[in-house]
Amino acid sequence: MTKKWDATSEHLLRELAPQVLGAVARRFRDFSSAEDAVQEAMIAAFTQWPQEGIPENPRGWLIQVACRRMTDRMRSEIARRERETAVSAETENFVPLPEIEADMDPDDTLILLFMCCHPALTPSSAIALTLRAVGGLTTAEIAHAFLVPEPTMAQRISRAKQSIKDSGVPFQLPGGQDRTQRLRAVLHVLYLIFNEGYTSSAGPELRRSDLSHEAMRLTRIVHHLQPDDTEAAGLLALMLLTDARRLARTSETGELIPLAQQDRALWDRQQIAEGVALLSATLPKRSVGPYQLQAAIAAVHDEAARSEDTDWPQILALYDLLGRMSENPMVALNRAIAAALVHGAAKGLELLDALETDGRLANHHRLDAVRAHLLELAGDRTGAIGYYRRAAGKTGSLPERNYLLTQAARLSDELCD
């Protein structure tokens, strides 16, 4: 008996991907080939299931197809060696499905995430491999999302797998302190995937926002598997609270709309409620980390009915905490904005001067953009125009450049009137 393919089926199929990969990789002790085989099984399912219906045991179907690919591959490998060495070998490697399924481990998805986000990989490779091996996306879909040709993405993934092979990391959960460190790396990769989708406002937008949703889906899985990790919960809350503002972020013509000017009626209240609830359940637990604090800041913004109702003293206090935890100069920059809105523009500008001497932010366009904003707050329109333009000249983002140029033009129009 089969079930009809519907809108939720793709979701189901993608949920199964890491489980199937875990089972096949464990059975054959070869992550790299297992990953290729599961990708082939996924593509076969995506082609066949919408027409023929979903098999009764979809996971078993995928495992069998992937195992068949693995044995085919091994057979041809052995045949090749036999031709070379004339040694005969037992090629039958058939393992009954129930045995494989009995061997499955609920932590497989987590083990795979730890592998794909291994510190030996560059962020771009870890992102690509995570989306394919754990997210169940095809190489073509990932390439499309990152606006690169498919062979480029395929190459990136195969190099990533080679690095994992070379690193000799075993297919098992890391233990103790290492595990905590490695979980941080996983969360960081998920955070990068989310941002990749969230910060793009050009190109085929829909596909890009899928990246944010995929990051949220995977973070939800991590949170589910590690419910006691407060930072996994914090990251999920941060994503929910940030993504809730998606619709309000761009105008109909594609222009970027900053937080203060967004139409708050467009914010996703349900998502905000979920993020806040998650955060409220997490914050009282012992350890407060950077993702929870960033989520808390996003929550304060999301809970203000109007921009002018924003509880800036609370945001400033949260940035103070975050600043003590993180060396990131961007945190200090955002703290300067909060300080300006609590204590006045002069205070914010004073903090910026201190940051100016910090080598890490030197010549960064964000420093100029914030200065422009604070100068405008202080009533110095000419100064603000200069810094908006300076920032526009330096940013690498076209929507941001358009936004900064429009700010400069707005002030310059005001001066002319």
């Binding site: 050009a202 013509t253 526009a392 000249g393 330096k394 450049r401 140029l405 429009t406 033009a409 310059s412």
Partner: protein, 130 residues
């Protein structure tokens, strides 16, 4: 057939333009709209805007193979502001798109009629050659 449309409108040494807000917004909306239209018609391969020329560097290898950068350009030099790569059925369509891009609104909403360089992107070998 693939074509690259190059918008060479920037002059060396020049940075951010200063147009009135509504003209700037009209220009941005036009460019976003054009890309959307090309995308919807299935003709867009890619469209990229580039940073301003005052950020540009000329790089060549020094004697030891290390990069030597140079950022000072003669005033007359024109710079690429951005480009489109399109996939269209014939050169006429490429010229049509180029003309449309050329007429993007400038200050006062007046069409800029900027020159757009159209060059065919070379393809693989013809099948009958293989």
């Amino acid at each position: 057939m693939k074509y690259i449309l190059m918008m060479n409108t920037m002059k060396a040494g020049h940075g951010v333009p200063s147009w009135p807000k509504k003209d700037l917004q009209a220009h941005i909306a036009f460019m976003i709209g054009l890309n959307k239209e090309l995308h919807e018609r299935g003709e867009l391969v890619s469209a990229e805007g580039l940073s301003f020329p005052d950020q540009a560097k000329l790089v060549h290898a020094g004697k030891d193979g290390r990069p030597v950068t140079d950022g000072v350009f003669p005033e007359s030099k024109e710079f690429l502001a951005g480009f489109w790569i399109i996939d269209v059925d014939n050169p006429q369509r490429a010229y049509e798109i180029a003309a449309k891009a050329s007429a993007a609104p400038g200050p006062g909403g007046v069409p800029l009629n900027m020159p757009i360089e159209v060059r065919q992107v070379m393809s693989g070998p013809p099948p009958d050659m293989l």
